[in-house]
Structures are given as C-alpha cells and as structure tokens.
Symmetry: C2
Subunit: 287 residues, 2 copies
Amino acid sequence: MLDKTKRYLVVGLGLLGGKYALELTKAGFHVDGINRSEGHLQYALEHGYIASGKTHDFEDLVSSADHIIFGLYPTALIEWFRTYGHLLKPGCIFTDVSGVKTGLVEPVQAMCPAGVEFIASHPMAGRETSSVEHAAEVNFAPANFIITPTEKNTPEAIQWAKDLAEVLGFHHICTLTVQEHDKMIGYVSQLCHAIAVSLMCANDNSSLCEYTGDSFRDLTRIAHINDKMWAELFLWNKENLISEIDQFDAALQQMRAALVADDRNRLEEMFRLSTQRRAAFDKKLPE
Amino acid sequence: MLDKTKRYLVVGLGLLGGKYALELTKAGFHVDGINRSEGHLQYALEHGYIASGKTHDFEDLVSSADHIIFGLYPTALIEWFRTYGHLLKPGCIFTDVSGVKTGLVEPVQAMCPAGVEFIASHPMAGRETSSVEHAAEVNFAPANFIITPTEKNTPEAIQWAKDLAEVLGFHHICTLTVQEHDKMIGYVSQLCHAIAVSLMCANDNSSLCEYTGDSFRDLTRIAHINDKMWAELFLWNKENLISEIDQFDAALQQMRAALVADDRNRLEEMFRLSTQRRAAFDKKLPE
C-alpha cells in the first residue's frame, strides 16, 4: 500500500504524466505538477489533476517531493536531471514512463544524490493521441506495467513501483532487466511501428482507400504516429530495432525467394508456422 | 433484379460457395450444388443451403444450370472447366470468387462454348476460417464486391453480376480491370499477409506473448492463414506481389538507413508522411 502522506510531483504533464496525476489525485494523494507550457499546466490545474503547479522557479516543489514521476522523453529527462537532480531530497524515490531504458537508467542512477533512488518503469499504454487533454481517455487496466530494476535498486523501491502501478489501475505488472525490456520493445512495439510506417510510405495509396479491408486497416492503424516521440524512441533503441528489422527482412526475403522459385511447399510451410505461432498468442494473451 | 425462375448451381461448397448458396436460397432462388467431398455436401443439404447436390455424375446439374458460381481455387477452376466446360448450356452466365484474376479470366473465357459467358468477380470478404460450416458467419455487408469485366463481356452479364452482389448483401460494388484488380490486391491484401506471416516467422516469439499489446495483435491477426489457399493466391499473383514486397522493402530500408545515420529529421519526415496518409484513409474508409 502506498503511503498517502507522501507528496507526489509529476514533471511533464503530457498524455501519461497527466494520467498519472489524475489517477493519483483521484486515489487521494497530494500531487503537484511541473510543465514547460503554461496551457497544459492550466488544463491540469483547472481539471483538478494537480493541487498546484509551476512552469519555472519550481525548486521548492522539487525539493519537497517524496516521489517524482517523470513524464518526459529520455533526452529531456536526462537534461532536466543534470540541471535540477541535485535538488531531490534524501529518501526520494522516483520513476519515469519512458519506452526505452538503455542509455537512460544507468546515467540517471549515476547522477542520483545520496539517498535518492531511481526505479525505472514503463507503462505500455500507447495511444495515437498525445497531450494532457487526452489523458483521461487512457486505459491502464489491460496494459502491461514493466518495472526494470538494476543492481542499484532496493526491494523497497521496487515494491513502491508495484504499488504505484496498482493505484494507477494496471492489472499486469512485471519486472524485466533493462536489456530484456529494450529487446522485447524492439520487437513487439517498435518493429510493428516501423513496418506500418514503411507500408504507408511505400506507396501513394490514396486511390486505393476504397478497396482496403480489415487487414490493411489493422496493419496501418499505428502508422498514425507522434513524429517527435517515435523518432526519439527509435534512435534510443536503434541497435535492437535494426537487429529486429534485419531479422524480419530475412523472413520476408525468404518468402520472396519462394515466390520467385514457385516453391509452393516453402510458402505453405511459412503459412503453417505463422498460423501455429499466432494461435499460441491467442491462447496466452492477457485480457 | 435477378430472375427467380433461373436455376443456380454452386460448384465448390466452401466458405464462400456455401455463403452464396445460403443467401441465394434464402432469397428464393433454386440452388443446386456440386462438391468433391460428401461431408460438406451433406452439411449444405441438411442445412437447406441447396435444393439438391452431387459429388459425381453431375453432368445433368451442369447442363441445366442458367447461372454457375465457382467457389474453387483458380487452379481447380481451370482444371474443372477443361473437363466439364463443354457441358454448360448456351445462355449460361457464370462467375467465380477467386482473389486473383490474371491467368484465370482469359483462359476460361477462351474455353467458353458459344453463347456461354464468364464474368469474373471477387467478393473481398476473407476470414481466418474456412469450409461450409462457417459460411453463415461471413458478413458481406461491409465488404467490397469487385467485378472485373473484359472486352469479351456483355453489359447484360456485368449487370447480372451487380444484381447478384446486391442479393448477396454487398453494399460496395465496383468494377476494375483484371490488371487493376490484381495490382490493388497485391498491395492492400497480399502484401499485408506477407508482412504478418514474415513477422511471425522472423522470431520464435512465444516467450513474448505476455508483453504484446494492441499493435502487435492487430499486425499479426492475419498471420493465421489458410496455407493451401494463400500459397495459391500468392503464386498466381507473384509478379504484383514481388513488386509490392520490393517497394515496401525499399521504404523499410530507408528507415533502417536513417536509424544507422542517426537521421532524426528523416525519421520524423517518414512518420509525418505515414500519419498524413493514414488520416486520409480514416476519412475515406467505407462503413
């Protein structure tokens, strides 16, 4: 159970930061906010997502927080921490929402003042929308919450992250190493987005709109993408993503070669393998 | 309006042939059936999809039919027609359900006896299931019905195909040339299936099941695939499909190159293009 006397601070009131603020406030926690833009800060204040907030001169909010949630892209988080990290008070345990962890967790943990602890986590609840104005639409219940502890983390901080995820409404909470997380994300999320975007970029397909069915619609739904955020996530995880692209491309080239060679058996083999693997997914998928 | 005194014959009582029989019978037409396997023929008889049916010695059914629907794969359709095509009576207008047209329409039209006309069409209502036992689950209302006339076709036959599609419940009926149809299908359907299958074949991903979200699920739903049918469809349209694979792969390789070069601008450009194109689809998609 999370201690309700602790003060929470959300830095970066975007889609996810805003949703964290909303859910924590609804659950009875004291939540303050820091945001660069005045408009979104006002939105969060007016809708009761945060008790108070600032766009600058926020040192007091930082140094009085028991727990901080960083709703920032990795580059912005590291930069923010370089400037203000020394203000965090001893005993402060904080987390982030970033979709990539390598290159982020180690440097931020290394910069932590004595007694301050960073336990990284990733709420896998992406949407095609962004900004605090859509935060209330996010649904955490069916999504995975992944905690990525390192050897620097204490059992207390890991437990805090789990309790936080429960308050936020996640039903699926698990831990992975930083490396496992980024490899997994490279395949199940980033490669899918790379494929959907490439499919849309490959062809000026506007004349084909009226002929598309469910398969095309399903495959390209995620081609509607936040350009700044995904460029950041792709580049921060580029080694894993490039390796996944190459593995996928090898399979696609095998299929192409079977077509060129009129190799019906090889095609049927691939179709049976994919059907069999996909069936296993249908069984194991969480609700 | 279709003439209800005409006799219909469905050759091949699979998922689509079965659905055609069911809908025509419901609408008050006389429908007979021919099927290779006794079991599925019995199912169609017992469920009232057809008035009568045979697995062999069916010459009388063929020569008395005013309209025939071929629910066969292209290879099987051509083979059947070589053997029994001469039995079709003058005035008979018939169609098929095949997902590819090049290589099928011309030879079958060339084999037609005098006074017999083949007007090809494609009901774009694929499912992951097959066989007559699932025919009743197919929903034609949101799907496209594409008629692919050639210079050999008469306005009467094209009108018959349109009227047939209406009786079957299609709301979206249009005509394309054989070449336009197969090129479009190569992109909006076959390339999507090639990608989904390659994505599943690329990686023994069973350990990742629990981490997959909507994007991965959407992208791979169609990786559950009828191996015999899709091998046939892919090979019959291999020139178009290979060309679509190459175009898609070029876009994917552009993205890979941008990752290698840390070219954030290029990535963001691709994301904006895909978002813009996808938005146009959302607007134009039929209900």
